[in-house]
């Protein structure tokens, strides 16, 4: 199934890639499947949200490791709950990688953002008075490092030892820092607005 090994982890054969996409899509639909009172409106809203954030990620690709999706996943998780947050993360990872480049790492990116959405749903980032900006800022900084760590696991293909893996992580620290700064900017500029945008949407939990 795995064709070759490389720094970005194993390259997937067409069959493996198809299988991975099916699994990811299946997860996303299963997470979204629970009906709401306004199924068409909610579906359209979520669809446009996913597409917008995916597009934003593609557009911002030239900026190294500035990842708007991390904050979006965190806030979607906080507002709409873990289930929809995880579905959002999986879909955004798949759609944006369709343009940026699909591969083994998509699985880890989807897992990274889904776990951030889950964390967002548990951190009480949204209170009755709106988004707790201080808490969201701190969460976004930690989320940046967490996401980069999770995605880094994609290079483990059996040929890389623990020392090499740590070396790989240390080499990437400047870009982890950039991810953190990017997240902070997204939260202070757009956090409250984005959170408010999601306020009307029901959670599934």
């Amino acid at each position: 199934m795995f064709q070759a090994m490389g720094v970005h982890g194993p390259a997937l054969s067409p069959l493996a890639a198809l299988l991975m996409d099916v699994v990811l899509l299946g997860c996303a639909f299963w997470l979204l499947a629970k009906p709401t009172k306004r199924p068409i409106f909610d579906s359209l809203f979520l669809m446009s949200l996913v597409l917008s954030v995916s597009l934003l990620r593609v557009v911002m690709q030239p900026l190294p490791n500035v990842q708007p999706v991390t904050v979006a996943a965190l806030l979607v998780g906080a507002q709409l709950g873990a289930r929809r947050g995880a579905a959002f993360a999986v879909l955004v990872a798949m759609i944006s990688n369709f343009f940026i480049g699909d591969g083994w790492w998509t699985l880890f990116q989807a897992a990274g953002w889904a776990s951030i959405a889950f964390a967002g749903s548990r951190l009480s980032l949204v209170t009755s008075s709106g988004l707790n900006l201080r808490r969201a800022c701190i969460a976004s900084l930690v989320a940046a490092f967490w996401f980069d760590l999770v995605v880094s696991f994609s290079i483990l293909d059996g040929t890389i030892g623990i020392t090499e893996f740590i070396t790989y992580l240390v080499h990437g620290l400047p870009f982890d820092f950039l991810h953190m700064v990017g997240n902070f900017v997204f939260v202070v500029w757009m956090g409250s607005w984005f959170s408010g945008l999601l306020q009307e949407e029901p959670t599934l939990e």
């Binding site: 490389g6 030239p62 040929t159 080499h171 620290l173 700064v181």
Partner: protein
């Protein structure tokens, strides 16, 4: 009060870009113009050209037929001496010898050339005719170091020894075995000769050929020792760093040590002052009773440093986007550097040549790109019409191509936005609008980070690799490979399941540089693109696959190939994904 202080701090930050802009102004570009150029198309110019008999004489080797080529002052080729038998990179500097007479006989003006196939040739500067030729030992390599003159003799550092030869006819007077050497030149003093070797030994050989060794254990000595009043100045290469040592010439006792960056350049001596370079910095020392660092500036240079009588100092930057460093030393303790783009890309180790024709100072630059570019100090000079070199689409440094004169609207726009953000931050802070202050200032920091993190990351990776070098090695030496590849850099490229292997490379600092050289020799087209994370290899010999990955001595690359450092004996393997 605190708020006002902070505001003052932010306003003062506004001045930083202005100060930086002042530092990058480079008057060299205003006072020099391209006089002529010659494109060798293939081959490296690894050592400084020389000026003899009103001609510019250049040696080239590497992925071309090794040659010494002469040009007249208009850039027309006048003669060329080929040595197809010299199969490795020739880096022994050319040596101009003035006419003279001794017990061996008379000799005319001549150029001495040491080749990696062990041959020493004396060439007539006017026509390239061989006056005499001798064969020295070859152990994988022949002559790679700097020859030295001693009265009527030339002192030759051979691969594993040192010999004394008559200038008149090349007759060998004696030859003495020392240690295995590479790029290890000879220094001459009243007591005889000094030479270093790859195992870190300093050798003293007297004028009758009797050798004494001092096992200094400093690292590889790859330059001619410098004889200063404070002692013998050595800049040794260690695995991932360098070490400068001052050694007592009488007993080999180490008097002083200074840690440096890796891959030392050839140090240069002027009076009591010594200039050194390596992959991290250029330093200036004063060595009278003892050596003392006067100043240092960050710069990446691993070859020759040109320090000329007019006080100009040039060093090639041995990096992918090669520029030259133009250094100024104020004679006291201040060393400054300006980046000089002379329109040639590629790695470089050769110091420029300076010569005067008709009262005009000319400077000739060459590097691994195999292009010789000559600039005149008189800015009104134009390219002569009879230049036989093919047209080069890279323009002169005092035109649009110069980064110092380039106007990038996107960068300027970004700087303007940063000014606005800083100003807005200040105003928000003064007005007590904390939220807007955080927004504006964080955006300013983000833009700043986007601009500096790629370079910062490179520096970070290099520093980390220097502090914690990789020790695991699983790529094994193949017994079927020729012995001449032992101790050199080897490249393996896997294409369609077949391994293409080439070795014998030396002096490459990064995986990318070595891969470029290997692809040139293989005849493979190497397609790459520059990204924020470094150079990305798109395809090799037209094979794109799903990307290419490399390993150094069996360890997978964790940074881009142009940031991945290699040792003098590394095996690099490229595999398609």
């Amino acid at each position: 009060m605190f708020r006002r202080l902070m505001a003052l701090l932010f306003i003062s930050l506004l001045l930083v870009p202005t100060l930086l802009a002042q530092e990058t102004t480079n008057p060299w570009n205003d006072s020099h113009a391209l006089a002529w150029e010659y494109d060798f198309e293939t081959g490296y110019i690894s050592t400084s050209p020389l000026f003899a008999d009103e001609q510019i004489v250049v040696r080239t080797s590497g992925n071309s037929e090794p040659a010494v080529t002469a040009f007249d002052t208009n850039g027309n080729k006048t003669w060329q001496r080929l040595n197809p038998a010299s199969t490795n990179n020739d880096m022994s500097p050319l040596l101009l010898v003035q006419p003279g007479e001794g017990e061996c006989g008379m000799w005319p003006e001549m150029i001495l050339v040491g080749w990696t196939n062990g041959v020493i040739e004396a060439l007539n500067p006017s026509n390239g005719e061989v006056l005499w030729s001798i064969q020295t030992e070859v152990i994988g390599w022949g002559v790679t170091g700097q020859l030295a003159l001693d009265g009527e003799f030339v002192i030759v550092p051979t691969r594993q020894g040192i010999g004394q030869y008559c200038l008149a006819d090349g007759q060998q007077q004696w030859w003495t075995e020392t240690g295995l050497g590479w790029r290890n030149g000879v220094a001459v003093d009243d007591t005889g000769y000094f030479i270093g070797d790859e195992s870190g030994q300093l050798w003293h050989v007297n004028r009758t050929g009797m050798a004494t060794s001092y096992d200094l254990q400093l690292g590889k000595i790859r330059h001619a020792p410098l004889l200063t009043d404070a002692g013998i100045f050595l800049h040794a290469q260690q695995d991932s760093s360098g070490l400068i040592a001052i050694v007592e010439p009488n007993d080999g006792h180490v008097l002083q040590q200074f840690p440096t960056g890796p891959s030392p350049a050839l140090p240069s001596l002027q009076g009591d002052y010594v200039l050194t370079g390596d992959s991290s910095a250029v330093r200036i020392f004063i060595c009278s009773t003892e050596c003392e660092i006067l100043d240092e500036v960050p710069f990446h240079t691993n070859g020759e440093i040109g320090w000329y009588e007019n006080g100009m100092i040039y060093a090639p930057s041995n990096t992918f986007d090669s520029t030259w460093g133009l250094f100024t030393f104020d004679g006291r303790e201040n060393l400054t550097v300006q980046s000089l783009d002379v329109g040639i890309q590629g790695y470089g180790t050769a110091a420029p040549l300076q010569y005067i024709v008709g009262g005009v100072l000319f400077t000739a630059f060459g590097n691994d790109h195999g292009v010789l570019r000559v600039y005149s100090e008189d800015a009104t000079n134009e390219l002569p019409p009879n230049n036989e070199s093919p047209p080069n689409n890279q323009s002169s440094p005092n035109h649009e191509s110069s980064p110092n004169h380039e106007f990038s609207s996107s960068v300027q726009g970004l700087v303007f936005v940063m000014y606005l953000l800083l100003g807005s931050s200040t105003v928000s802070l003064l007005n007590g609008k904390k939220e807007w202050f955080v927004r504006m200032f964080s955006l300013f920091i983000l833009i700043l980070c986007v601009l500096i993190v790629p370079d910062l990351s490179t520096q970070w990776s290099q520093t980390f690799d220097e502090k914690f070098p990789e020790t695991s090695a699983s790529e094994e030496w193949n017994e079927q490979w020729p012995d001449t590849w032992l101790g050199t850099q080897i490249v393996i490229i896997e294409i369609d399941g077949e391994e293409h292997v080439l070795g014998g490379f030396v002096g490459h600092e990064t995986v990318f540089s070595l891969t470029q050289a290997a692809c040139n020799e293989f005849g493979f087209e190497l397609s790459s693109s520059s990204t924020e994370l470094g150079m990305y290899v798109d395809s090799i010999d037209g094979v794109e696959a799903e990307g290419w990955v490399f390993a150094v001595d069996g360890s997978k690359g964790v940074v881009s190939s142009d940031q991945s450092k290699i040792e003098s004996a590394s095996i690099v393997r490229w595999s398609p994904v």
